[in-house]
Symmetry: C2
Subunit: 500 residues, 2 copies
């Protein structure tokens, strides 16, 4: 006979979060559909339905009884795993209970309205139209930040960032980013000088969407994506959505260029494999969730930058490119590699090369921090944006809202505090692969022979399988022996771009 566990409070909490898991499944699906499938006329009804669900999820998380269950569970005889789960339950509960229900509903509606209109306003370069919706988004996000700040004692922006990157603060970030700015612009200059003398053939389009989709599917297969538990579709802004049991990736296609779509697909595949490989037996509990946005991005950037942009992997995917687009001189593997690592400051973050990408992030981080903390207003964004683009990237975005401050979906949907995760992720990813190379001496040679499992096995063992069992710092130390160390990132960039 099974012995009865004496953990009634914990068991009640686990049941509640299982229910949240079920309802969140429907919400995640509705969100994916809204971005990838839904015709425009369906938006008002969808926004209302999702706001209702947001309200329900919030009301479950804010049930007044939960506080006493959480406190009672602390003194129950829990194993390590359940203890970690309780820690994450408390974290989720705390962030939900900082916000009043009417703010949650107003915010859901404001964000959905703004995001949906953005899809047509962006191509129309309609900043004024966007601004009208965005004021409500910002107002809600500031209110949210104020509530979370008073709950946690963190600064308003840090309180938002804590949701994505627990433990990270703008003070720590300023140190990391200020240091980056002491060497990165110089590296960019050196690399551009070096590349100016190289003769690299650009691929010649057009590239049909069907062929791009087929290449994407082949490369995802090469990268181990499980199509029995996921899909690839199209959306205005690429993302990884759905649920761990059914992970929905999207990309977007341009007829004249396949690289953006392909590298985007590889990026989302990294997110997707993390989700698909979270501990299956624990799904439905917070301890099975992905650790943080920074760790999530460290997976997408492991796939995109560490694997995808490696000479070894470019050699492995070149045949699929030739197969679906036909032969052309630019598809010679070495030429393709040189083309992919070409550095060229550009308007668009998601199309930016590996070297200038962090500059886009630092620009956004500074603006959104000041937006949330009231030092910048919604209508000031274009000005601040244009100045920073000119200074950091020497790019002119004046009047070009669609390729300037309207390019990202994040702010349109009220996502503040996320952008730093991209560059934190790039730093973590460099640290992972430094760790792998210490463990596997012939790593790069073996990867070139198709032994991709070397990378996947390490990531699975050290990152994916843990879910949220460990804190971010514990995870990083256990995987690599030290906390976050940005020198791996600098060394990675210098080796790739100046090494040969």
């Amino acid at each position: 006979m099974a012995t009865q566990r004496a953990t009634p409070a914990y068991d009640t909490l686990a049941g509640t979060w299982k229910k949240l898991h079920h309802f969140s499944h429907l919400q995640a699906l509705a969100s994916w559909d809204r971005m990838s499938m839904m015709p425009s006329g369906g938006n008002a009804a969808r926004a209302e339905a999702m706001a209702e669900m947001d309200g329900l999820l919030h009301s479950i998380r804010t049930d007044p009884q939960l506080r006493s269950y959480i406190d009672a569970a602390e003194s129950e005889p829990l194993g390590d795993l359940d203890k970690a789960n309780l820690r994450e339950i408390r974290r989720d509960w705390r962030s939900a209970n900082a916000l009043p229900a009417d703010l949650v509903q107003r915010q859901s509606l404001a964000n959905a309205t703004c995001e949906h209109a953005w899809r047509e306003q962006r191509p129309a370069n309609d900043w004024q139209g966007f601004l009208e919706n965005f004021r409500a988004v910002l107002k809600c996000s500031r209110a949210q930040a104020a509530f979370l700040s008073s709950e946690t004692g963190l600064k308003p922006y840090d309180a938002l960032m804590d949701f994505y990157e627990p433990g990270m603060t703008s003070e720590k970030l300023d140190v990391l980013f200020d240091d980056l700015l002491t060497w990165l612009p110089d590296l960019v200059r050196k690399v551009r000088l070096k590349q100016a003398s190289q003769n690299v053939l650009p691929p010649v389009g057009p590239f049909s969407r069907a062929a791009q989709h087929a290449v994407g599917l082949e490369v995802m297969t090469l990268l181990g994506f499980d199509f029995n538990a996921g899909r690839l579709d199209e959306s205005a802004h690429p993302f990884c959505g759905g649920v761990p049991e059914d992970t929905r990736l999207t990309t977007r296609y341009r007829d004249d260029d396949f690289v953006g779509s392909l590298m985007g697909t590889i990026h989302e595949t990294g997110h997707g494999r993390y989700e698909q490989s979270l501990p299956r037996d624990l799904l439905g509990q917070p301890v099975a969730w992905a650790r943080s946005a920074g760790i999530h991005e460290s997976q997408s950037l492991s796939f995109e930058m560490q694997i995808g942009l490696s000479r070894a992997f470019v050699g492995l995917m070149a045949p699929a490119i030739v197969k679906h687009f036909g032969t052309q001189p630019a598809f010679d593997a070495e030429n393709l590699y040189q083309h992919l690592i070409r550095v060229q400051p550009n308007f668009i973050r998601v199309e930016a090369d590996e070297l200038t990408y962090p500059l886009h992030v630092i620009l956004r981080y500074r603006i959104e921090r000041d937006l949330i903390e009231g030092r910048v207003e919604a209508e000031d964004i274009p000005d601040v944006w244009d100045k920073a683009m000119a200074e950091l990237l020497d790019v002119d975005t004046c009047g070009n809202y669609k390729n300037g401050c309207m390019q990202d979906v994040h702010w349109a949907e009220g996502l503040f505090g996320y952008f730093p995760s991209y560059t934190l992720g790039a730093m973590y990813a460099a640290q992972w692969f430094a760790g792998i190379r210490r463990q596997v001496p012939d790593f790069d040679t073996r990867m070139a022979f198709g032994e991709l499992h070397l990378a996947f096995d390490w990531l699975k063992t050290n990152i994916w399988a843990h879910g949220s069992r460990l804190t971010t710092e514990e995870l990083v130390i256990r995987a690599t022996g030290t906390p976050l160390d940005a020198t791996h990132y600098r060394r990675h960039l210098e080796t790739r771009y100046l090494g040969d």
Copy 2:
């Protein structure tokens, strides 16, 4: 200042059903996705999430306070529209409250499991595997019928049918269907004799899926489908799903035949236009719902049989067929028309011609009625099926489960009492078009010139715009002057198939 309406109980009910509308939106989307998009590995998580939502919807509908609100609302000063809404609210409430919550959840899980496995069991002709899941489905449906029966005083099967076709009973159906069997088999014989002497060229495939999809989209556009509020996708069994604000149609493709997919698409477009044209300002309230399954099928069959199979419409869609499949002699409009109205008894209901279709329905009606009322057991189905197919259609289905009793999704997902609606719908549709022809003398000539709005306008004014404001009988009488009169159906079939 606005005057406050003194209808607090009614207003509370309207708020509750608005909430149900929002949550049902998410459930409808999840259901559409499960059938058309979801990879197989996502099913267990999806089934659990949808069962949770079924439980929530059920708990809202069974809130003990609702009874007193409904009773109180009866004596509030309501206008006609609100009175009709209250009638439909009571109807929805009554059917939900006949069922205990645990049955609702068990049934949702049993149906989802059976339906999902059926998708692979059907092509594998795996009756034994299907039977194992189906026993649980039948058990739940019988329990459901017993509860509804004791609530309504109707026979168990009638109590299920009442959900789809309020007011219809097996006693009335037996009269209609027995009468049909006195003249339809004879008509089938005469028509087959007549057609045997006609020389009709069949279209020659293969027909690419992309071209079939393109033809489907063009024909849907011709039929006025609003793509700003809907989509066309693929699924194992075609259906019209989603929500009125965003109607999701599906079809399925065969490389060697485009007619099944095309006529299926036209059929679903009829359902879709009804949904898209329900009274927008009332959406979210039961009075805005489609009237009944029979009336719904009368729309799909108005599109498929009355319009789609008319000589006029075949002439209108022939150019789209030539455009996407290329020229061939069979695409001559008159030849295509004769090909489409070809009568040939066949295994598959959804591919059946207009004349033999009702025989498929009568067969299923009799079996499912006996299944629910315990005169037939799950394991008896193949035997009963094979005998009836031989008798009614002279077709041998022995051992051929996939083209026999496993061909439809209905029973796999616990849908009993629905099949009669198809033939009731065909009868109603004939009555609508008899009505239109009385009102518009040159109807057929003008349709041939592309004036399809003549049909759409009539359907919109007389059916779509009413939602559930009228009872079925009121709706039919107001639209055509008489209650359901099956002589229109007989006359329609005789005119089309023997008239020229």
